[in-house]
C-alpha cells in the first residue's frame, strides 16, 4: 500500500528505486478518482500532465538528476495560479479562468521535482471555515462524510487525510491551514508572514494571507516548506532572509524548552473533551523536558472583531479587479457599463464573498474608516504586542487549534457569526504575522482535534521541531480514516 508512506518516505523510495514516479502517480490518481464522489476534494485533476511529468521525473531519477521532491505527487489549493491549468479559487467568477502564469510556490515545487496531480477544492476565495462556500460544492470530512473538513483549505486537508496526496499546498488568512488540519487529523503549518511568496497566490486579505502546507507529519511539512519558502523579488512583502534547513533541525531535544499555554484559549467556548486532549498533549511536551506555564494575552480575545474588519476591508479592494472585463465571469448582454459590473459581480460571487466585500466596503467608507478600520488596526497592534511580550517569556505558545472537532455539514451555514467564531484561536497568529502549526492530538467522539503551536517570527524550525518530537512520542498523526487507510 504505497499511500501509507509519508512524503519523506516516498521521496526516499523514489531515489532508491523502490517504485517509480509513474507508479506513484497512477496509484494516487486512482485513489483520487475513487474518492471524488464521497469527498469532492478536487476541482481539477490533471492526470495527463501528471503522468507526463512523472515520466520525466523517472528519467531524471535514473540519470541521477532532480531535486528533493523529484517524482513526488502533490496537489495545489486552487488559488495558486498554475500556467495552462484552470485556477478557480472555488468561485463561479473564475470558473473558466486558465492562468497564463505559475505562482512562485508552484514554480518552486515544480523546480524541486514535485508532480502536480490537480487543483484542490476550497471555500470561495478562501472565505469560509467549513469548505461549504465553494462554487464546486462542499468537501466532506474523510473521517465522516456527514461532517465538514474545515476551511478554507478543506480540499487540501481532506485530500491529505484521505491519503489522496501525501502533501498539499494551502493558504491561511485566519486559520485556513490549521483549522482544517485539526478537523481532518493532519499536520498543517502557516509560516511567518513574508516567508512564502504570495506571488500568484490569489489574494483574499493581503496583510494576512500566507501560503503553507498540509501533510501527515511535521517531518513532511518541514521538507515541503524548505522547498516552498524563500525570498521572491516579485513580492514586496517577501522577506529577504535565508531559509533554514527545517528538516535538519527537526530532531533537536526539547529539554529546557519553555512552553506557554495561552490562558485566553482555555475559555468557555472550548469543548471540555477537546481541552483534555490539549492538556494531554502538553503533558507529553513536559515529559520531553519542556517546562510549562500559563501565559495571558489579554487582547487576544479581540482577534475575531479585528479580523472581521481588516480582512473584509482588504478583500473588498482585492476583489474589485473581478469586473467582467479582462478575465472571469461576465454577465450576458449587459445594458451598460454599470450593469456589466453589477451583474457580473453579483452572479460571479457567492453569498459569503458578497457579504465580506460589503462588510469591507462599509468599514472603509467615508465616516466609518476611523471607527472601524483604524481602530481595528490599533487593536491589532495591541494583539501583536501581547505576543511579543509573551515570547519574551516563553519559546513557543500552545493551545487548541479550534474550539470543537468538526461539525456537521450545514450546521453553521445559516449563521455567519457562529461560523466566524470557529477561527477564534487561529486568527491571532495571522494578525501578528507569526508562524503557527496544528498537529493532531487525539479524537473527540471519533473526530480528530488539533494542538496549535505558535512561535515568534521566523521560528518555523522551532515549532516544526516541537511538533516532530511530539509526533515521535505519539501516533495520532499516523491514524487515517478507515475508509481511506
Amino acid at each position: 500500500m504505497i499511500h501509507r508512506n509519508s512524503l519523506t518516505q516516498l521521496a526516499a523510495g523514489l531515489r532508491a528505486g523502490k517504485f517509480s514516479s509513474v507508479e506513484l502517480v497512477r496509484a494516487y490518481l486512482a485513489r483520487i478518482e475513487a474518492s471524488q464522489p464521497a469527498l469532492n476534494a478536487f476541482i481539477s485533476v490533471t492526470g495527463a500532465q501528471a503522468l507526463e511529468a512523472a515520466h520525466a521525473a523517472d528519467r531524471d531519477i535514473a540519470a541521477g538528476r532532480g531535486g528533493a521532491l523529484t517524482g513526488v505527487p502533490i496537489a495545489h489549493k486552487d488559488l495558486f495560479c498554475t500556467a495552462g491549468v484552470r485556477t478557480t479559487c472555488g468561485s463561479r467568477m473564475l470558473d473558466s479562468f486558465v492562468s497564463p502564469y505559475d505562482a512562485t510556490v508552484v514554480a518552486k515545487l515544480k523546480a524541486a521535482g514535485a508532480v502536480t496531480l490537480g487543483k484542490l477544492n476550497m471555500d470561495e476565495f478562501a472565505m469560509g471555515s467549513s469548505n461549504e462556500t465553494s462554487y464546486f460544492g462542499p468537501v466532506r470530512n474523510p473521517w465522516n462524510p456527514e461532517f465538514v473538513p474545515g476551511g478554507s483549505s478543506g480540499g487540501s486537508a481532506a485530500a491529505v487525510a484521505a491519503r489522496l496526496v501525501p502533501a498539499a499546498t494551502a493558504t491561511d488568512t485566519g486559520g485556513s491551514i490549521r483549522q482544517p488540519a485539526a478537523l481532518c487529523g493532519i499536520t498543517g503549518i502557516k509560516p511567518t508572514y513574508g516567508r512564502v511568496s504570495r506571488y500568484g497566490m490569489i489574494a483574499f486579505a493581503s496583510s494576512l494571507d500566507q501560503g503553507g502546507v498540509l501533510t501527515t507529519s511535521a517531518q513532511d511539512a518541514a521538507l515541503m516548506l524548505r522547498e516552498m519558502a524563500g525570498f521572491d523579488p516579485k513580492d514586496s512583502t517577501s522577506v529577504d532572509a535565508p531559509v533554514p534547513d527545517y528538516v535538519a533541525e527537526l530532531e533537536a531535544p526539547l529539554a529546557g524548552l519553555k512552553v506557554g499555554l495561552i490562558k485566553e484559549f482555555l475559555d468557555e467556548g472550548l469543548d471540555r473533551e477537546n481541552e483534555r486532549r490539549i492538556r494531554d498533549a502538553v503533558a507529553v511536551l513536559e515529559r520531553l523536558g519542556a517546562s510549562l506555564c500559563e501565559v495571558s494575552l489579554p487582547n487576544l480575545p479581540r482577534s475575531v472583531p479585528v479580523y472581521y474588519v481588516v480582512a473584509p476591508a482588504e478583500c473588498s479592494s482585492n476583489l474589485a479587479r473581478y469586473d467582467g472585463v479582462r478575465f472571469g465571469h461576465r454577465c450576458k448582454d449587459p445594458r451598460d457599463l454599470q450593469d456589466l459590473y453589477r451583474r457580473s459581480r453579483g452572479e460571479g460571487f457567492g453569498a459569503e464573498v458578497k457579504r465580506r466585500i460589503m462588510t469591507g466596503t462599509y468599514v472603509l467608507s467615508a465616516g466609518y474608516y476611523d471607527a472601524y478600520y483604524l481602530k481595528a488596526q490599533r487593536v491589532r497592534q495591541l494583539i501583536a504586542a501581547d505576543f511579543k511580550h509573551a515570547f519574551g517569556e516563553v519559546d513557543v505558545l500552545v493551545g487548541p487549534t479550534s474550539p470543537t472537532a468538526a461539525f456537521r455539514v450545514g450546521a453553521k451555514t445559516a449563521d455567519p457569526i457562529t461560523m466566524y467564531l470557529n477561527d477564534i484561536y487561529t486568527i491571532g497568529a495571522n494578525l501578528a504575522g507569526l508562524p503557527a502549526l496544528s498537529v493532531p492530538c487525539g479524537f473527540v467522539e471519533g473526530l480528530p482535534v488539533g494542538l496549535q503551536i505558535v512561535g515568534p517570527h521566523f521560528a518555523e524550525a522551532r515549532i516544526l521541531n516541537v511538533a516532530h518530537r511530539y509526533q515521535l512520542e505519539t501516533d495520532w498523526h499516523l491514524k487515517a480514516p478507515e475508509r481511506f487507510s
Binding site: 497564463p100 511567518t192 474588519v309 453579483g346 490599533r378
Partner: protein, 96 residues
C-alpha cells in the same frame, strides 16, 4: 447597530454588486450582526497606539531597478478575456 435597506443598497452600489430583492434583508441582518461583533472594538483602549498596517514591523519597501523585463504577450493574456477586438478589451459604451 442596525443597517437600513438604503444603506445596504448604497454599499452594494459602491461595491458594484447586483443583489436580488430577497437578498437585501438577509445582508441587512447579517451585516448588522457583524457590525455588532466588531463594535466590541470600541471598548478597547487604544490611546496613543499607532495603527498596524503590516504584520512585520520594521520592514520597508524594496526598490526594483528600472528595467524593461516584459514583452508583448497580449494574445496569451487576452485568451481568457470575455470580449476583445483589435487588441482592445471591449466594454459597453462609456459616456464621458
Amino acid at each position: 447597530m442596525s443597517l437600513t435597506r438604503a444603506q445596504i443598497e448604497n454599499i452594494a452600489h459602491l461595491a458594484r454588486l447586483e443583489l436580488e430583492p430577497a437578498e437585501i434583508p438577509v445582508y441587512q441582518e447579517s451585516l448588522s450582526r457583524i457590525l455588532d461583533l466588531v463594535g466590541d472594538l470600541e471598548r478597547a483602549d487604544t490611546a496613543g497606539i499607532t495603527p498596524m498596517a503590516h504584520p512585520l514591523p520594521g520592514l520597508t519597501q524594496r526598490l526594483r531597478p528600472d528595467e524593461v523585463t516584459e514583452e508583448d504577450r497580449h494574445e496569451l493574456y487576452q485568451a481568457c478575456a470575455p470580449q476583445v477586438a483589435a487588441g482592445l478589451y471591449l466594454v459597453p459604451k462609456v459616456i464621458e
